[in-house]
Homo-oligomer: 492 residues x 2
Amino acid sequence: MSKNLTKRSEDYSKWYNELVVKADLAENSGVRGCMVIKPYGYAIWEKMQAELDRMFKETGHQNAYFPLFVPKSMFEAEEKNAEGFAKECAIVTHYRLKNDPDKPGKLMVDPNAKLEEELIVRPTSEAIIWSTYKGWVQSYRDLPLLINQWANVVRWEMRTRLFLRTAEFLWQEGHTAHATRSEAIAESEQMMNVYADFVQNFMAIPVIKGLKTETERFAGAEETYCIEALMQDGKALQAGTSHFLGQNFAKAFDVKFANAEGKQEHVWGTSWGVSTRLMGALVMTHSDDNGLVLPPNLAPIQVVIVPIYKTDEEFAAITEAATTLVSQFRKLRISVKFDDRTTQKPGFKFAEWELKGVPVRVAIGPKDLENGTFEVARRDTLSKEVVLKDGIVNYVSDLLEKIQEDLFNKALDYRNTHITEVNSFDEFKDVLENKGGFVAAHWDGTPDTEEKIKDLTKATIRCIALDRVEEAGSCVFTGKPSVGRVLFAKAY
Amino acid sequence: MSKNLTKRSEDYSKWYNELVVKADLAENSGVRGCMVIKPYGYAIWEKMQAELDRMFKETGHQNAYFPLFVPKSMFEAEEKNAEGFAKECAIVTHYRLKNDPDKPGKLMVDPNAKLEEELIVRPTSEAIIWSTYKGWVQSYRDLPLLINQWANVVRWEMRTRLFLRTAEFLWQEGHTAHATRSEAIAESEQMMNVYADFVQNFMAIPVIKGLKTETERFAGAEETYCIEALMQDGKALQAGTSHFLGQNFAKAFDVKFANAEGKQEHVWGTSWGVSTRLMGALVMTHSDDNGLVLPPNLAPIQVVIVPIYKTDEEFAAITEAATTLVSQFRKLRISVKFDDRTTQKPGFKFAEWELKGVPVRVAIGPKDLENGTFEVARRDTLSKEVVLKDGIVNYVSDLLEKIQEDLFNKALDYRNTHITEVNSFDEFKDVLENKGGFVAAHWDGTPDTEEKIKDLTKATIRCIALDRVEEAGSCVFTGKPSVGRVLFAKAY
């Protein structure tokens, strides 16, 4: 197993692209900007889905499914939302191919099969869902509607990167409808918290909870809550967003309810989503120059057992010990693989599972059998330890928990040492260029200043942290007054 | 809860359409031919997915995800497949909308954003997947590839019906690649058997396993295995198909491997799928004039508890008893709901849960508390029994199993009495018109005869049953020799 992985210090971006492909997570397809998610990558996504789905259901949400297509007239009903997505959407105009008379064996679009109204492939489903909710809501008794959808969406991005930015991606989108403003806001906040819990506890990625500025807000939302993470190259990544939609979509689609007094009111809405982009965050937060590092809570294989042997007799004896071990791990619901391939040497196997980020490797050789020991190696630290056979299952179980914690703490340390307060624009640029990470700076609150800073530095306001300290100051760019620092960063 | 459900005997088709909507399974959307799957319907689909997914994984398959779009040149590579789907596909031609200068606030397709090559929204994914497999297979060691995808697909059907025939539907599609013909055939057969097991054991629908005729075969397949079910109106429904693709796609996409001797060979393929169409089969097989009847193995709610009370004290006492019962059921992993709504009367609740097909209803009134009994009602037979409180949990647990069995046996009885052997074309037409079901008749084996019979009677050959008896006979239409009967029926 030759890895030939570019080092992060040489070219972080190249390292990422190579790693995603070499670790069998995903690859580019023959379709511009669309990726193929390979089985190993998809298995991680399935673990994410299962956990998120459980969390959504625990908070009272149900899944449903809405159409892939949005007729143009429906798409444009909420103007801001339409404007926000109009420039990057795939449009279906015809519904039939026919034989091309000029090119035998080739097909062409049948000009007689033009749709009366064009269909937009959903870039997000507010329009189609709110047009449906109109039929579902009459009275306050029909509220709240707490619905989630697992789906594919399409945004015609020009520059794409595996997981981080693809023309088609997989995601979940929650869409809820409420009787009151405060209930909708509480829902938006709750889902931001659910996302933060998931990303921190399962993905082992620390996040900052905050609000987006008007410029960065979701098109059609009144407020966008977000969780922001920091990658190892000092760039930020938006890991999830939860939008308070006010009554914008209810008004655009005429969704009203009779309140307890019988008066008609517009419904209040939220929407919230996370996507396969999280896979990119997972790779970029923990992995190293040897390959993937996966947090145990999301690793499709948590423990791999590799036999080291010369003779058939040794292999037979090791296989017996490994088989026992496998069943012991499975009893604790630890996902384990015994790599008994006879076609590959141990060194190859070690490198392969290292590349694929399996958290714990157990090696068993003839000496181990004699001594009643196994060699246990951690993927994250690359450290090894010889462990007595008798306590090994509990040892590994505890180790998996410790690795999960250590990964989070390591990422947290990095993140915390990469939030830098600056008080001048020179300092701002210096930190951004030479250190990276979040730059905590005063800002005058105007989109204009935000725009200018972005043009000059490529940094955007990632969020106004929910826990920021109120602090009078002067905008780092214009010198105008500010009530507290916001977090700038270059971002994915 | 007013049901106003059309009776099956009056208008079966109308009954079906009404039931799907009234039981909150699905509804038509604002997008031509596309449905909204509502939470209750989606919960049933999720149970189907979970079980099928488990069965696929147990037989060694892994999930992955491939692009929604297929470029036209890729789509047309396998000619028969392309021809089969060309007439009913949604085609993306543009990637941007712009403001319509003539209509303020309206959008139009930007003529400057025309794609160089049109993209077909996948009607099935053989093309995109085999173009990917080319990169995944070099040697026999890379085989077999055993991959499944859960996805949405689009077929531009002109006449649509909820679940049974929709422009967009959800499905799973397995796509496997093998080193030998016999291995691929064994895989196709295995997956047909997996489908049959699932449909019979979970959906409680008996099926006939068979082969499709050339006319009915999947476009691009060498052989199509299928499972055929019979609905209550005597029409057949294809519940799942598994295709042996031969080397057709391998040749179209140049997918070769080096065999153990180092010689290059084309790979052998299969594909297999079931879709949300199964939801239609589920409804049409078991349900009655009062609403849905769900088999316990797929019911989102298996048991509903309805309190019957007049005073607050009674309600409190019943709630206490019900709460205990709920936790006892949950321990046995029985999905249970205590319907404690104070806004609805018991009669309304009874009708609602009947409509929604909950297999078992437990009613608790003040007299039950006195007597230490509960009233247990079965949805399928509408029969009631008074059961002693002490043994109730095991009683209900056993009852759920019995209902599952009874539903299957009832459907099996109906199916078995609706397979009729006929030996003349008059008899053929008579049975088809007056009795319905499968007509077992001799056929001369030609597509021409098949076509003529279809034109005259609307019946198609549903399958050549795998277990049919070899029997010399004369074609019911042409009198030419035949080696065994095939099953004709009108079908969904």
